[in-house]
Amino acid sequence: MEILSWLQNLGADANAVAPGFQARSMYVFMCIALPVAMGLVVGMGLRLIERMFGIELGRGGGH
């Protein structure tokens, strides 16, 4: 749960209606890095599994 609290706190300043709002660079970085990193890990993991077991992709890739 620590990572969840950290993510929650990281976005706590994302109050765009507050005067002088500017998104923190770490918050913006994590917004992009979190999904991309997870996508890369999942994609490469699945690709490895497909190679190991000789699985072919179905129509549309099942995304």
């Binding site: 994302a14 109050n15 995304h63």
Partner: protein
């Protein structure tokens, strides 16, 4: 309301992950991204404001499309030149869509029949209802046509006749013309590619959808891409449009990181489960079911709007 103001209890994480799993499984099962169901359902079921639902869903979509693109790359199904050219139009579209949502976010409340409702909730609910009706009826009609054709009740020509708009776009020859050898296209106006990118980017930025339902037919029928290349290039494009979308929404404070993580965990598992069951079930009845599901989505969105109008 921005992501920093919206208090999402960490105890909701399992429910949101479960919700992502259900939507991901349905998306994988029916062979679509499922983004057009995700945002209105996040609003209707969990009460998450549209701007946060859109921004966070784009984060989830970035992860899913990255994983799918990595898998597709080994098959060489991606036309990188086409994808890169389209990105310019997509980025402009995402920016326009995200800024319209931003205007709605700051628009405050409007009065409908003497009752006050948030302008963003009202407009987005109607736009989503229209989108779901459009997609639902298209899927139901297409699946029924396929069912009739396979049962031999209706005889169709080998190739469906192209609409006048498509025929006109195919003959559009405005400079600069580009060739796309990977897709087998000798010459196509750059403006058509940018236009397709802009239209789908606009939908991504404003509604948090991948836009595959526009990009796929456009790539196949207007540009003349082979279907396998269109699928791979579509995924590549979703990765960039969602990635750019999540960045621009992050600058506007519309991305909730815990929500992104919960949805990512759920949809990643759900999409694989759904896709494996599609191979067993498959067929037009599945698409018919998804079309009907879109109409259920319309009912849910309208109930939520009714409640926010009369029980706020």
């Amino acid at each position: 309301m921005s992501a920093g103001e919206f208090l999402l209890g960490l105890g909701n994480f399992p429910y949101l992950a479960l919700f992502g799993l259900v939507i991901g499984a349905m998306g994988g099962f029916f062979g679509v991204g499922g983004g057009f169901l995700m945002v209105p359902m996040l609003n209707a079921v969990f009460g998450i404001p549209y701007n946060i639902a859109v921004g966070s869903d784009l984060g989830q979509m970035t992860g899913m499309s990255t994983a799918a693109t990595v898998r597709h790359m080994r098959f060489g199904n991606i036309d990188f030149k086409l994808g890169m050219l389209m990105i310019a139009g997509t980025a402009a579209g995402v920016e326009v869509g995200a800024n319209i949502l931003e205007v709605l976010k700051h628009a405050g409340t409007i009065s409908i029949g003497g009752r006050n409702v948030e302008a963003m909730t009202f407009v987005m609910s109607l736009v989503y209802a229209a989108l779901l009706i459009f997609l639902g009826q298209a899927m139901v009609r297409e699946s029924l046509r396929t069912i009739q054709r396979t049962s031999g009740r209706v005889k169709l020509a080998a190739e469906a006749p192209a609409s006048p708009v498509v025929l006109k776009l195919r003959t559009f020859r405005l400079w600069p013309m580009v060739s796309l050898p990977a897709s087998g296209i000798e010459a196509i106006s750059l403006w058509i590619i940018l236009g397709i990118g802009f239209a789908t980017g606009f939908l991504s930025g404003m509604l948090g959808v991948g836009g595959g339902f526009i990009r796929m037919p456009a790539l196949v029928y207007v540009l003349g891409c082979p279907t396998v290349v269109a699928v791979g290039t579509d995924l590549f494009e979703i990765m960039f449009s969602a990635g750019y979308g999540v960045m621009t929404h992050a600058f506007k404070g519309n991305v909730h990181l815990v929500l992104v993580l919960a949805l990512l965990v759920g949809t990643t598992i759900g999409a694989q489960l759904g896709a494996s069951y599609t191979r067993k079930a498959g067929g037009p009845w599945v698409r018919f079911g998804f079309g009907c599901l879109a109409f259920i989505g319309v009912i849910a969105v309208m109930i939520k709007l009714y409640l926010s109008l009369f029980h706020a």
